[in-house]
Protein backbone atom coordinates (compact mmCIF):
# COMPACT_ATOMS: atom_id res chain seq x y z
CA UNK A 1 0.00 0.00 0.00
CA UNK A 2 2.87 2.32 0.70
CA UNK A 3 3.99 1.94 -2.90
CA UNK A 4 1.26 4.46 -3.77
CA UNK A 5 2.73 7.98 -3.63
CA UNK A 6 -0.13 9.40 -1.59
CA UNK A 7 0.14 6.66 1.04
CA UNK A 8 3.84 7.26 1.26
CA UNK A 9 3.38 10.96 1.94
CA UNK A 10 0.78 10.07 4.53
CA UNK A 11 3.08 7.57 6.18
CA UNK A 12 5.88 10.12 6.31
CA UNK A 13 3.57 12.72 7.83
CA UNK A 14 2.42 10.26 10.49
CA UNK A 15 5.97 9.36 11.26
CA UNK A 16 7.00 13.02 11.58
CA UNK A 17 4.11 13.59 13.97
CA UNK A 18 5.11 10.55 15.99
CA UNK A 19 8.73 11.69 16.25
CA UNK A 20 7.73 15.24 17.19
CA UNK A 21 5.58 13.84 20.02
CA UNK A 22 8.44 11.73 21.25
CA UNK A 23 10.90 14.62 21.20
CA UNK A 24 8.51 17.21 22.64
CA UNK A 25 9.51 16.93 26.33
CA UNK A 26 13.24 17.25 25.53
CA UNK A 27 15.02 19.76 27.73
CA UNK A 28 16.50 22.67 25.72
CA UNK A 29 20.19 22.97 24.91
CA UNK A 30 21.97 26.26 24.28
CA UNK A 31 25.31 26.88 22.59
CA UNK A 32 26.71 30.40 22.85
CA UNK A 33 29.80 31.90 21.31
CA UNK A 34 31.56 34.22 23.75
CA UNK A 35 34.84 36.06 23.87
CA UNK A 36 37.06 33.06 24.66
CA UNK A 37 35.13 30.17 23.17
CA UNK A 38 31.79 28.45 22.88
CA UNK A 39 29.64 27.49 25.86
CA UNK A 40 27.27 24.51 25.76
CA UNK A 41 24.62 24.42 28.43
CA UNK A 42 21.59 22.49 29.59
CA UNK A 43 19.77 21.68 32.82
CA UNK A 44 18.66 18.38 34.32
CA UNK A 45 21.13 15.62 34.91
CA UNK A 46 19.23 12.38 34.38
CA UNK A 47 21.67 11.50 31.63
CA UNK A 48 24.52 13.17 29.83
CA UNK A 49 23.43 15.30 26.90
CA UNK A 50 26.60 17.15 25.92
CA UNK A 51 29.36 15.26 24.17
CA UNK A 52 32.84 15.72 22.76
CA UNK A 53 32.99 14.66 19.12
CA UNK A 54 36.46 15.76 18.09
CA UNK A 55 39.17 18.28 18.98
CA UNK A 56 37.07 21.30 17.99
CA UNK A 57 33.57 19.85 17.70
CA UNK A 58 30.95 19.35 20.41
CA UNK A 59 27.42 18.01 20.27
CA UNK A 60 24.28 18.35 22.31
CA UNK A 61 21.39 15.98 21.76
CA UNK A 62 17.81 15.32 22.74
CA UNK A 63 15.90 12.19 21.86
CA UNK A 64 16.09 8.48 22.45
CA UNK A 65 19.37 7.49 24.17
CA UNK A 66 19.87 4.53 21.83
CA UNK A 67 19.55 6.66 18.71
CA UNK A 68 21.70 9.46 20.12
CA UNK A 69 24.34 6.86 20.89
CA UNK A 70 24.36 5.49 17.33
CA UNK A 71 24.66 8.96 15.82
CA UNK A 72 27.30 10.03 18.33
CA UNK A 73 29.38 6.92 17.60
CA UNK A 74 29.07 7.45 13.85
CA UNK A 75 30.18 11.07 14.21
CA UNK A 76 33.15 10.17 16.43
CA UNK A 77 34.27 7.33 14.17
CA UNK A 78 34.10 9.52 11.07
CA UNK A 79 35.92 12.41 12.71
CA UNK A 80 38.57 10.17 14.29
CA UNK A 81 39.41 8.26 11.11
CA UNK A 82 39.56 11.50 9.14
CA UNK A 83 41.74 13.10 11.79
CA UNK A 84 43.99 10.05 11.80
CA UNK A 85 44.41 9.59 8.05
CA UNK A 86 44.69 13.30 7.22
CA UNK A 87 44.94 15.75 10.09
CA UNK A 88 42.84 17.29 12.81
CA UNK A 89 42.57 20.43 10.67
CA UNK A 90 40.80 18.40 7.96
CA UNK A 91 37.97 17.38 10.26
CA UNK A 92 35.17 19.82 9.63
CA UNK A 93 31.68 20.02 11.04
CA UNK A 94 30.30 21.25 7.74
CA UNK A 95 31.42 18.08 5.95
CA UNK A 96 30.47 15.84 8.85
CA UNK A 97 26.92 17.16 8.94
CA UNK A 98 26.22 17.81 5.26
CA UNK A 99 27.88 14.79 3.68
CA UNK A 100 27.70 12.10 6.33
CA UNK A 101 25.05 12.52 9.01
CA UNK A 102 22.32 14.31 7.07
CA UNK A 103 21.98 11.70 4.28
CA UNK A 104 21.90 8.87 6.85
CA UNK A 105 19.15 10.59 8.85
CA UNK A 106 17.12 11.34 5.74
CA UNK A 107 17.32 7.77 4.48
CA UNK A 108 16.30 6.32 7.84
CA UNK A 109 13.43 8.78 8.07
CA UNK A 110 12.03 8.05 4.62
CA UNK A 111 12.40 4.26 4.64
CA UNK A 112 8.98 3.77 6.16
CA UNK A 113 9.56 0.09 6.95
CA UNK A 114 12.64 0.80 9.03
CA UNK A 115 13.02 2.73 12.24
CA UNK A 116 13.86 6.45 12.07
CA UNK A 117 16.28 8.17 14.42
CA UNK A 118 14.43 9.71 17.36
CA UNK A 119 16.95 12.45 17.88
CA UNK A 120 17.67 16.09 17.27
CA UNK A 121 21.25 17.29 17.44
CA UNK A 122 22.99 20.59 17.99
CA UNK A 123 26.61 20.88 16.87
CA UNK A 124 29.19 23.60 17.28
CA UNK A 125 32.68 23.89 15.90
CA UNK A 126 35.17 26.42 17.18
CA UNK A 127 37.20 28.27 14.58
CA UNK A 128 40.47 30.16 14.73
CA UNK A 129 38.49 33.38 15.00
CA UNK A 130 34.98 34.01 16.19
CA UNK A 131 33.66 34.60 12.68
CA UNK A 132 34.77 31.07 11.75
CA UNK A 133 32.65 29.43 14.47
CA UNK A 134 29.92 27.20 13.14
CA UNK A 135 26.65 26.27 14.83
CA UNK A 136 24.17 23.91 13.28
CA UNK A 137 21.13 21.93 14.14
CA UNK A 138 20.45 18.54 12.63
CA UNK A 139 16.86 17.33 12.55
CA UNK A 140 15.62 13.74 12.59
CA UNK A 141 14.76 14.01 8.87
CA UNK A 142 18.25 15.16 7.93
CA UNK A 143 17.37 18.83 7.61
CA UNK A 144 20.18 21.17 8.60
CA UNK A 145 19.14 24.42 10.18
CA UNK A 146 21.22 27.30 11.35
CA UNK A 147 19.36 29.65 13.70
CA UNK A 148 16.12 29.36 11.76
CA UNK A 149 17.37 31.33 8.81
CA UNK A 150 18.92 30.59 5.50
CA UNK A 151 22.59 29.81 5.38
CA UNK A 152 23.68 33.15 3.99
CA UNK A 153 21.87 35.23 6.59
CA UNK A 154 22.83 33.17 9.58
CA UNK A 155 24.41 34.85 12.51
CA UNK A 156 26.99 32.35 13.61
CA UNK A 157 27.32 33.09 17.26
CA UNK A 158 24.77 30.89 18.92
CA UNK A 159 22.65 27.78 18.46
CA UNK A 160 19.52 26.59 20.25
CA UNK A 161 17.80 23.25 20.35
CA UNK A 162 14.59 22.23 22.07
CA UNK A 163 11.85 19.62 22.15
CA UNK A 164 9.37 21.61 20.12
CA UNK A 165 9.67 23.97 17.18
CA UNK A 166 7.89 26.71 19.09
CA UNK A 167 10.30 26.48 21.98
CA UNK A 168 13.31 26.54 19.65
CA UNK A 169 11.94 29.58 17.83
CA UNK A 170 11.38 31.49 21.04
CA UNK A 171 14.91 30.71 22.18
CA UNK A 172 16.28 31.80 18.80
CA UNK A 173 14.34 35.05 19.00
CA UNK A 174 15.47 35.69 22.55
CA UNK A 175 19.13 35.07 21.75
CA UNK A 176 19.05 37.09 18.53
CA UNK A 177 17.87 40.07 20.57
CA UNK A 178 20.02 39.62 23.67
CA UNK A 179 23.26 37.89 22.73
CA UNK A 180 26.42 39.61 21.61
CA UNK A 181 29.43 37.63 20.47
CA UNK A 182 31.88 39.63 22.59
CA UNK A 183 30.23 38.59 25.85
CA UNK A 184 32.30 37.47 28.82
CA UNK A 185 31.98 33.93 30.14
CA UNK A 186 29.86 35.08 33.06
CA UNK A 187 27.50 37.04 30.83
CA UNK A 188 27.23 34.13 28.36
CA UNK A 189 26.51 31.71 31.18
CA UNK A 190 23.71 33.85 32.61
CA UNK A 191 22.22 34.52 29.20
CA UNK A 192 22.46 30.82 28.35
CA UNK A 193 20.50 29.96 31.47
CA UNK A 194 17.91 32.61 30.59
CA UNK A 195 17.59 31.20 27.08
CA UNK A 196 17.23 27.72 28.53
CA UNK A 197 14.47 29.01 30.81
CA UNK A 198 12.67 30.65 27.86
CA UNK A 199 12.81 27.35 25.98
CA UNK A 200 11.69 25.42 29.03
CA UNK A 201 8.71 27.72 29.64
CA UNK A 202 7.56 27.18 26.04
CA UNK A 203 7.47 23.40 26.34
CA UNK A 204 4.30 21.38 26.90
CA UNK A 205 0.65 22.11 26.08
CA UNK A 206 0.51 24.92 28.62
CA UNK A 207 3.76 26.40 27.29
CA UNK A 208 4.05 30.12 26.63
CA UNK A 209 3.58 31.30 23.05
CA UNK A 210 5.21 34.71 23.46
CA UNK A 211 8.47 35.72 25.00
CA UNK A 212 7.86 35.92 28.77
CA UNK A 213 8.66 39.06 30.75
CA UNK A 214 12.14 39.47 32.21
CA UNK A 215 11.16 38.98 35.84
CA UNK A 216 9.22 35.83 34.99
CA UNK A 217 12.29 34.36 33.29
CA UNK A 218 14.46 35.24 36.29
CA UNK A 219 12.06 33.76 38.81
CA UNK A 220 11.72 30.54 36.81
CA UNK A 221 15.49 30.31 36.33
CA UNK A 222 16.08 30.58 40.08
CA UNK A 223 13.45 27.96 40.75
CA UNK A 224 14.87 25.53 38.16
CA UNK A 225 18.46 26.02 39.29
CA UNK A 226 17.50 25.03 42.80
CA UNK A 227 15.96 21.79 41.62
CA UNK A 228 18.13 20.66 38.71
CA UNK A 229 21.80 20.16 38.00
CA UNK A 230 23.62 22.19 35.35
CA UNK A 231 25.46 20.38 32.62
CA UNK A 232 27.93 22.54 30.75
CA UNK A 233 30.97 22.23 28.53
CA UNK A 234 33.17 24.66 26.66
CA UNK A 235 35.18 24.69 23.46
CA UNK A 236 38.16 26.88 24.22
CA UNK A 237 39.54 29.34 21.70
CA UNK A 238 43.18 28.56 22.44
CA UNK A 239 45.26 27.44 19.49
CA UNK A 240 48.06 26.22 21.76
CA UNK A 241 46.06 23.16 22.77
CA UNK A 242 44.71 20.53 20.38
CA UNK A 243 41.71 19.32 22.32
CA UNK A 244 39.46 22.30 22.94
CA UNK A 245 36.56 20.49 24.59
CA UNK A 246 36.31 20.65 28.35
CA UNK A 247 33.37 19.60 30.51
CA UNK A 248 32.73 22.06 33.33
CA UNK A 249 32.17 20.86 36.86
CA UNK A 250 28.93 21.93 38.46
CA UNK A 251 30.79 23.66 41.31
CA UNK A 252 32.79 25.69 38.79
CA UNK A 253 29.60 27.01 37.18
CA UNK A 254 27.81 27.68 40.45
CA UNK A 255 30.77 29.72 41.70
CA UNK A 256 30.61 31.95 38.61
CA UNK A 257 26.86 32.35 39.08
CA UNK A 258 27.39 33.25 42.70
CA UNK A 259 24.50 31.29 44.13
Amino acid sequence: MIEEPYRWVEAIANRAEYIETQLAPGSPIVALGYRDGILFLTLGRTRQKLFEIYDRIAMGAIGHPGDIERLRMAAIELASTEGFTRSAADVSLRRLAHYSLSPVLKTAFEQVYGAPFLARLLFAEIGAKQENDLFLRLEYDGAIATNNSTFAKTRQDFGALSGTRQSTELMDGFLTAEHSAGATFERALKLGLDAWTVGHLALGDAGVKELPARDKILAERKERLRAAGIEAAILERDDKIAVRYRALAEAEIRSVLGD
Binding site: F51, Y54, I76
Partner: protein
Protein backbone atom coordinates in the same frame (compact mmCIF):
# COMPACT_ATOMS: atom_id res chain seq x y z
CA UNK B 1 10.92 -8.14 5.76
CA UNK B 2 13.41 -10.04 7.83
CA UNK B 3 14.48 -8.30 10.99
CA UNK B 4 18.18 -7.63 11.18
CA UNK B 5 19.91 -10.17 13.36
CA UNK B 6 21.26 -8.66 16.52
CA UNK B 7 24.58 -10.08 17.52
CA UNK B 8 26.11 -9.46 20.88
CA UNK B 9 29.61 -9.11 19.47
CA UNK B 10 28.46 -6.08 17.53
CA UNK B 11 28.88 -3.24 19.95
CA UNK B 12 28.06 0.19 18.69
CA UNK B 13 29.43 1.81 21.83
CA UNK B 14 32.86 0.68 20.73
CA UNK B 15 33.57 -0.95 24.08
CA UNK B 16 34.84 -4.13 22.51
CA UNK B 17 36.37 -2.43 19.53
CA UNK B 18 39.44 -0.27 20.01
CA UNK B 19 40.69 2.36 17.63
CA UNK B 20 43.28 0.19 15.80
CA UNK B 21 40.50 -2.35 15.11
CA UNK B 22 38.33 0.43 13.68
CA UNK B 23 41.20 1.54 11.46
CA UNK B 24 41.78 -2.02 10.25
CA UNK B 25 38.09 -2.46 9.50
CA UNK B 26 38.31 0.58 7.28
CA UNK B 27 41.58 -0.53 5.72
CA UNK B 28 43.52 2.38 7.17
CA UNK B 29 46.04 0.36 9.17
CA UNK B 30 48.16 -2.56 8.04
CA UNK B 31 46.67 -5.90 9.11
CA UNK B 32 48.45 -7.88 11.79
CA UNK B 33 50.96 -10.04 9.91
CA UNK B 34 50.59 -13.74 10.56
CA UNK B 35 53.56 -14.68 12.63
CA UNK B 36 53.60 -18.19 11.23
CA UNK B 37 54.85 -16.89 7.90
CA UNK B 38 58.59 -16.25 8.08
CA UNK B 39 60.17 -13.61 5.92
CA UNK B 40 61.02 -14.96 2.49
CA UNK B 41 64.25 -13.03 2.20
CA UNK B 42 67.45 -14.77 3.13
CA UNK B 43 68.83 -11.74 4.92
CA UNK B 44 66.53 -12.54 7.80
CA UNK B 45 69.09 -14.75 9.47
CA UNK B 46 71.69 -12.02 9.42
CA UNK B 47 69.31 -9.40 10.68
CA UNK B 48 70.56 -7.45 13.64
CA UNK B 49 68.19 -5.23 15.55
CA UNK B 50 69.11 -1.62 14.99
CA UNK B 51 67.74 0.83 17.45
CA UNK B 52 70.15 3.49 16.53
CA UNK B 53 69.46 6.23 19.02
CA UNK B 54 69.55 6.97 22.72
CA UNK B 55 66.47 7.58 24.79
CA UNK B 56 66.48 7.91 28.54
CA UNK B 57 63.93 8.62 31.23
CA UNK B 58 64.07 8.84 34.97
CA UNK B 59 61.94 9.99 37.86
CA UNK B 60 63.05 13.08 39.77
CA UNK B 61 61.46 15.43 42.29
CA UNK B 62 59.17 17.12 39.77
CA UNK B 63 57.90 14.06 37.91
CA UNK B 64 59.44 12.13 35.06
CA UNK B 65 62.10 13.54 32.75
CA UNK B 66 62.29 12.04 29.27
CA UNK B 67 65.16 12.93 26.96
CA UNK B 68 66.22 11.83 23.50
CA UNK B 69 68.98 12.74 21.08
CA UNK B 70 68.02 14.07 17.66
CA UNK B 71 69.96 11.90 15.22
CA UNK B 72 68.26 9.65 12.69
CA UNK B 73 70.50 7.20 10.85
CA UNK B 74 70.29 4.66 8.03
CA UNK B 75 73.23 2.28 8.35
CA UNK B 76 76.30 4.46 8.58
CA UNK B 77 74.62 7.54 7.20
CA UNK B 78 73.23 10.32 9.29
CA UNK B 79 69.91 11.08 7.62
CA UNK B 80 68.56 13.80 9.80
CA UNK B 81 69.91 15.74 12.75
CA UNK B 82 66.76 17.28 14.14
CA UNK B 83 64.49 14.28 14.63
CA UNK B 84 62.08 14.41 17.53
CA UNK B 85 61.88 11.06 19.26
CA UNK B 86 60.15 12.20 22.42
CA UNK B 87 56.48 12.39 21.53
CA UNK B 88 53.49 13.68 23.48
CA UNK B 89 50.61 11.25 23.41
CA UNK B 90 48.16 13.10 25.60
CA UNK B 91 48.22 15.75 28.34
CA UNK B 92 50.00 13.42 30.76
CA UNK B 93 51.71 10.77 28.63
CA UNK B 94 54.98 10.72 26.74
CA UNK B 95 56.24 8.01 24.42
CA UNK B 96 59.91 8.08 23.51
CA UNK B 97 61.08 5.84 20.71
CA UNK B 98 64.10 3.94 19.57
CA UNK B 99 63.78 2.01 16.34
CA UNK B 100 62.38 2.52 12.88
CA UNK B 101 60.90 6.02 12.76
CA UNK B 102 58.17 5.25 10.21
CA UNK B 103 56.70 2.53 12.41
CA UNK B 104 57.31 4.41 15.64
CA UNK B 105 55.64 7.63 14.54
CA UNK B 106 52.71 5.71 13.13
CA UNK B 107 52.45 3.87 16.45
CA UNK B 108 52.50 7.14 18.36
CA UNK B 109 49.76 8.46 16.10
CA UNK B 110 47.60 5.39 16.59
CA UNK B 111 48.17 5.53 20.33
CA UNK B 112 47.33 9.22 20.57
CA UNK B 113 44.08 8.70 18.67
CA UNK B 114 43.28 5.53 20.64
CA UNK B 115 43.30 7.39 23.97
CA UNK B 116 41.17 10.22 22.57
CA UNK B 117 38.81 7.79 20.89
CA UNK B 118 38.36 5.87 24.11
CA UNK B 119 37.63 9.01 26.09
CA UNK B 120 35.18 10.33 23.51
CA UNK B 121 33.27 7.10 22.98
CA UNK B 122 33.31 5.71 26.52
CA UNK B 123 33.00 9.09 28.24
CA UNK B 124 35.81 8.39 30.67
CA UNK B 125 39.60 8.66 30.62
CA UNK B 126 41.51 5.45 29.88
CA UNK B 127 43.30 4.16 32.97
CA UNK B 128 47.09 4.15 33.16
CA UNK B 129 47.10 0.35 32.98
CA UNK B 130 44.86 0.53 29.92
CA UNK B 131 47.21 2.97 28.21
CA UNK B 132 50.28 0.89 29.02
CA UNK B 133 48.52 -2.19 27.68
CA UNK B 134 47.40 -0.38 24.49
CA UNK B 135 51.03 0.31 23.56
CA UNK B 136 51.95 -3.26 24.42
CA UNK B 137 49.27 -4.52 22.03
CA UNK B 138 50.52 -2.29 19.22
CA UNK B 139 54.03 -3.69 19.67
CA UNK B 140 52.69 -7.22 19.72
CA UNK B 141 50.70 -6.59 16.52
CA UNK B 142 53.84 -5.21 14.93
CA UNK B 143 56.00 -8.17 15.85
CA UNK B 144 55.36 -9.95 12.55
CA UNK B 145 57.06 -7.07 10.79
CA UNK B 146 59.93 -7.18 13.28
CA UNK B 147 60.48 -10.84 12.40
CA UNK B 148 60.56 -9.89 8.75
CA UNK B 149 63.39 -7.52 9.56
CA UNK B 150 61.43 -4.29 9.24
CA UNK B 151 59.89 -1.96 11.72
CA UNK B 152 61.35 -2.79 15.11
CA UNK B 153 60.33 -0.29 17.77
CA UNK B 154 61.46 -0.24 21.40
CA UNK B 155 59.71 2.54 23.28
CA UNK B 156 59.66 4.06 26.73
CA UNK B 157 56.35 5.24 28.11
CA UNK B 158 56.07 7.83 30.89
CA UNK B 159 52.88 9.06 32.42
CA UNK B 160 51.58 10.86 35.48
CA UNK B 161 48.45 9.81 37.30
CA UNK B 162 47.67 12.13 40.19
CA UNK B 163 45.23 9.66 41.73
CA UNK B 164 47.73 6.80 41.97
CA UNK B 165 50.69 6.18 44.23
CA UNK B 166 53.37 6.56 42.97
CA UNK B 167 51.95 9.21 40.65
CA UNK B 168 54.85 9.26 38.24
CA UNK B 169 54.91 6.03 36.22
CA UNK B 170 57.63 4.85 33.90
CA UNK B 171 57.69 1.79 31.64
CA UNK B 172 60.00 0.31 29.07
CA UNK B 173 59.10 -2.32 26.50
CA UNK B 174 60.78 -4.98 24.46
CA UNK B 175 60.07 -5.42 20.74
CA UNK B 176 57.51 -8.14 21.43
CA UNK B 177 55.40 -5.94 23.66
CA UNK B 178 56.37 -7.03 27.15
CA UNK B 179 56.12 -4.08 29.49
CA UNK B 180 58.34 -3.48 32.49
CA UNK B 181 57.55 -0.87 35.08
CA UNK B 182 60.65 0.66 36.56
CA UNK B 183 61.07 2.43 39.86
CA UNK B 184 63.87 4.81 38.92
CA UNK B 185 65.09 4.99 35.36
CA UNK B 186 64.95 3.43 31.89
CA UNK B 187 67.03 3.74 28.74
CA UNK B 188 66.73 2.29 25.28
CA UNK B 189 68.50 2.47 21.92
CA UNK B 190 72.02 1.72 20.78
CA UNK B 191 73.55 4.22 23.20
CA UNK B 192 71.67 2.89 26.18
CA UNK B 193 74.40 0.70 27.80
CA UNK B 194 76.46 3.79 28.59
CA UNK B 195 73.42 5.68 29.80
CA UNK B 196 72.31 2.84 32.05
CA UNK B 197 75.74 2.78 33.58
CA UNK B 198 75.62 6.49 34.32
CA UNK B 199 72.10 6.45 35.70
CA UNK B 200 72.86 3.44 37.88
CA UNK B 201 75.96 5.14 39.23
CA UNK B 202 74.21 8.47 39.83
CA UNK B 203 71.29 6.76 41.52
CA UNK B 204 73.43 4.74 43.92
CA UNK B 205 76.59 6.69 44.50
CA UNK B 206 75.90 10.15 43.13
CA UNK B 207 75.40 13.24 45.33
CA UNK B 208 71.78 12.25 45.74
CA UNK B 209 69.49 9.61 44.29
CA UNK B 210 67.73 10.50 41.01
CA UNK B 211 64.38 10.77 42.77
CA UNK B 212 65.68 13.66 44.92
CA UNK B 213 67.13 15.72 42.05
CA UNK B 214 65.80 19.20 41.30
CA UNK B 215 64.82 20.05 37.74
CA UNK B 216 68.14 21.74 36.90
CA UNK B 217 70.13 18.85 38.36
CA UNK B 218 68.00 16.33 36.47
CA UNK B 219 68.53 18.12 33.17
CA UNK B 220 72.27 18.21 33.85
CA UNK B 221 72.36 14.45 34.45
CA UNK B 222 70.35 13.82 31.26
CA UNK B 223 72.64 16.01 29.15
CA UNK B 224 75.78 14.42 30.57
CA UNK B 225 74.40 10.94 29.97
CA UNK B 226 73.44 11.68 26.36
CA UNK B 227 76.76 13.29 25.66
CA UNK B 228 78.52 10.24 27.06
CA UNK B 229 76.40 7.92 24.92
CA UNK B 230 77.30 9.94 21.83
CA UNK B 231 80.97 9.63 22.68
CA UNK B 232 81.08 5.96 21.73
CA UNK B 233 77.91 5.43 19.72
CA UNK B 234 77.90 6.94 16.23
CA UNK B 235 74.14 6.58 15.99
CA UNK B 236 73.57 8.93 18.88
CA UNK B 237 73.66 12.66 18.23
CA UNK B 238 74.23 13.83 21.79
CA UNK B 239 74.81 17.56 21.80
CA UNK B 240 75.93 19.10 18.53
CA UNK B 241 78.22 21.90 19.74
CA UNK B 242 78.82 23.41 16.32
CA UNK B 243 75.28 23.45 14.98
CA UNK B 244 73.83 24.12 18.45
CA UNK B 245 71.45 21.17 18.31
CA UNK B 246 70.34 20.06 21.73
CA UNK B 247 68.45 16.96 22.82
CA UNK B 248 64.69 17.11 23.25
CA UNK B 249 63.81 17.10 26.94
CA UNK B 250 60.27 16.85 28.20
CA UNK B 251 58.96 16.64 31.74
CA UNK B 252 55.66 15.12 32.73
CA UNK B 253 54.24 16.19 36.07
CA UNK B 254 50.95 16.83 37.81
CA UNK B 255 50.45 19.96 35.67
CA UNK B 256 50.95 18.06 32.42
CA UNK B 257 53.80 17.97 29.96
CA UNK B 258 56.34 20.74 29.58
CA UNK B 259 58.94 20.88 26.85
CA UNK B 260 62.15 22.51 27.99
CA UNK B 261 62.97 25.50 25.80
CA UNK B 262 66.19 25.18 23.85
CA UNK B 263 67.60 28.33 25.48
CA UNK B 264 67.29 26.84 28.94
CA UNK B 265 68.94 23.57 27.86
CA UNK B 266 71.72 25.55 26.18
CA UNK B 267 72.32 27.60 29.33
CA UNK B 268 72.44 24.52 31.57
CA UNK B 269 74.69 22.76 29.09
CA UNK B 270 77.09 25.69 29.09
CA UNK B 271 77.10 25.93 32.86
CA UNK B 272 77.47 22.31 33.89
CA UNK B 273 78.34 20.08 30.94
CA UNK B 274 80.49 21.76 28.30
Amino acid sequence: MEPAALTLGQNSSGAGDDFPALLRRRGLLAPVPTQAAPAPCATNAAWVPTQATTILAFKFQGGVLVAGDRRATAGNTVVFDRADKVLEIDRHSIMAIAGVPATAWEMARVLEHSFQFFRRTQLQEMSVDGKVRALSKLLRDNFGFVLQGIGVVVPIFATYDASADPSARLYFYDAMGAQFEVTDYAATGSGSPAVRGILHYENNWGKKPLLKLSEDEAVTVALRALDTAAEADTATGGVDRNAKIFPVIKIVSREGISTLPEKRIAALFKRSVA
